[in-house]
């Protein structure tokens, strides 16, 4: 239904009178309400009692049970605090590691003259053809034979070497103004010095964009942590949430409170870093 609306708005493109604008804003407003509805449901249910969620008399506002928060973290049957911590460690280390490893490689491929550099680049490109989700079987085989099941190493390290992120960094550095680095080289800095003192400080926007995308995908990852995390102690937030859906002992209000808590950090990151995120996505065109 929203898809036919744009033509309607389009007809009145550029100051199409009060009527056109009203129609446009009405369409956008309705779509926005639909998009916000699930967020409202999470918050409403998270602050409700169970009868309020499952009862027939559906009220718009909950009874604001703030105690649900402490109940969730005090519940000994779910280690929610533990899985929050795991997710934080995984997402943060993954972001830092990916930025470091992939940006260095991207810079090397883009800027340092080496006669086989094209061949190396094609080898990186080739990995983009095999989707990471499909390789979970062989990756699990490898990681389990390394003895990394249920460990942070197993959760984090295999995800650091993203051919795609490296590719994005290379594209970015190709467009980075060469003059800046050359000035630094003349002044006696090597590649390493020029990279850390000139290139990185002048690329913080791009680094922030990639960091945001990596953090979000690290926090939201499901398949790999599901494969690796067999012991509940190593569960990430997503695995814990998923287990709630099958675990009958957890109550509805706790499930929704857990969902709310799991989304909150990302919303925060999102709203805070949105400028870079939008810019980065528009620049790169693709998800990390």
């Amino acid at each position: 239904m929203t898809t036919t609306a744009p033509q309607l708005g389009k007809k009145r493109k550029k100051r199409g009178g009060i009527l056109g604008n009203t129609g446009l804003y009405l369409a956008v407003g309705v779509a926005a309400l639909l998009f916000l509805l699930p967020f409202y449901l999470i918050v409403r249910n998270a602050l409700s009692t169970d009868p309020e969620i499952t009862g027939e008399n559906w009220k718009l506002l909950p009874s604001f049970q703030w105690g649900n928060i402490s109940e969730l973290f005090d519940d000994p049957t779910v280690q929610f605090g533990r899985s929050l911590w795991n997710s934080t460690v995984v997402a943060v280390l993954m972001t830092v590691g990916t930025l470091l490893v992939c940006s260095l490689a991207g810079y090397g491929l883009a800027r340092i003259p080496y006669k086989h550099s094209n061949k190396v680049f094609y080898a990186v490109l080739a990995t983009l053809m095999v989707p990471t989700a499909v390789t979970f079987v062989p990756s699990f085989v490898l990681v389990s034979s390394l003895g990394w099941v249920d460990t942070y190493r197993g959760l984090i390290i295999p995800g650091l070497f993203s051919g795609f992120t490296c590719f994005l960094f290379r594209q970015y550095f190709l467009g980075f103004p060469k003059e800046l680095e050359e000035a630094a080289r003349v002044d006696g800095l090597g590649y390493w010095g020029a990279y850390w003192r000139i290139v990185v400080p002048n690329s913080l926007n791009f680094f922030a964009a990639i960091a945001t995308i990596t953090f979000i995908s690290g926090w939201n990852a499901f398949l790999w942590p599901l494969v690796i995390g067999q012991d509940p102690d190593s569960w990430t937030v997503q695995i814990a949430l998923s287990s709630f859906m099958t675990n009958q002992t957890v109550n509805f209000h706790l499930i929704f409170m857990a969902t709310a808590v799991s989304i909150l950090p990302l919303i925060f990151v999102f709203l805070f870093l949105q400028r870079w995120l939008v810019q980065g996505i528009a620049q790169t065109g693709i998800k990390g």
Binding site: P113, T135, F161, F222, F256, S262
Partner: protein
């Protein structure tokens, strides 16, 4: 910039030294630096990408049940088994149906939202944020809301409550495969999460269309609305559309999270290829050989679809697709 100047003043000696150094030294210096920069990444890439892929191909020719170091070579039997004796082919069909739903609807919805937001003169950033916000939500969390609050079969589900106002009886959306109400649940969830992301891509592309094109069209007598959309906007978005459709297809192939959490692996219907692989390799049978064979087949399929789609849509014709 300030760093460069201070360094230049402080270290005239080193600048002189580098001038005096012969060119040959500079080149081997570059080679060393190349490996210094790319080495850590390449080592990791070989260990965690190339080795698993190679291992997977190797495993797919062995009888590898409960073991990752098998000794019994069985040729293409794993491929035969996963293509004939399992639900894997059926899951490919499930994927096809899913892709046939999700790719065009997401394309249309995200383009529609982009066109709408692009027209706004007030509160544009606000609405853009609203549509973009679901991108932050995980499929697991969304699955939870969809399954337990919006589409739960019983009375307290939001959808059934609303339908109830119009006198429609409760619908059990997820209880059985016919009628296939579950598609409504799955597709609406993914639309909600994905549309904002692709909207950003379209917004960026829309802002890159030169205004002169519209002016020229107006002089030529093109009517605003459908005509300019059909003959200017849509062709100008071609490169972005190609990229979006490609990304949507690849994302659809990898569908796992919401199917796993909403339908579950115990159901016999709506099992995606990755769910079948998950069950084969990590379920009770622990059949790494057949699982690997399935992974190889799925990878090849994705490559073929990607290349074919690129060929049909003219991949690489647009410069935005970097």
């Amino acid at each position: 910039m300030s760093t460069t100047t201070t360094r230049g003043v402080a270290q005239p000696a080193s600048a002189k030294a580098s001038q005096a150094r012969p060119r040959r030294g500079l080149r081997s210096n570059a080679t060393l630096n190349f490996w210094l920069f790319t080495g850590p990444f390449l080592i990791g890439l070989v260990i965690f990408v190339f080795v698993p892929i190679g291992w997977s191909i190797w495993l797919s020719f062995f009888d590898a049940r409960y073991t990752v170091t098998p000794s019994h070579f069985i040729g293409f039997d794993n491929y035969k088994q996963i293509l004939t004796n399992s639900n894997f082919p059926e899951s490919l069909l499930t994927f096809t149906v899913f892709a046939a739903f999700i790719v065009p609807t997401t394309w249309a919805l995200s383009l529609g939202l982009a066109l709408l937001v692009n027209q706004l003169r007030f509160m544009r950033a606000f609405f853009r944020s609203v549509f973009f916000l679901p991108t932050a939500v995980s499929y697991v969390a969304a699955a939870l809301i969809w399954k337990m609050s919006i589409f739960s079969g019983v009375r307290f589900g939001l959808m059934n409550t609303v339908l109830g106002w119009f006198g429609v009886d409760n619908i059990a959306y997820l209880a059985n495969p016919s009628p296939p109400w579950y598609w409504l649940v799955i597709v609406s969830l993914r639309l909600w999460i994905q549309a904002g992301f692709y909207m950003i891509l379209f917004l960026a592309a829309l802002q890159n269309i030169p205004a002169e094109l519209y002016e020229a069209a107006a002089i030529d007598g093109a009517k605003r609305g459908w005509q300019t959309f059909r003959y200017i906007t849509l062709p100008q978005l071609r490169a972005t559309s190609t990229a979006v459709i490609l990304l949507l297809l690849i994302a659809a192939y990898q569908a796992f999270d919401e199917f796993f959490n909403i339908i579950g692996t115990k159901a016999t219907w709506a099992q995606t290829p990755l769910m079948e692989l998950y069950k084969t390799a990590l379920g009770t049978s622990q059949d790494y050989g057949a699982g690997s064979a399935g992974a190889v087949i799925l990878s090849l399929l994705i490559c073929i679809v990607t290349l074919a789609q690129g060929k049909i849509m003219g991949f690489g014709r647009g410069e935005e697709v970097k």
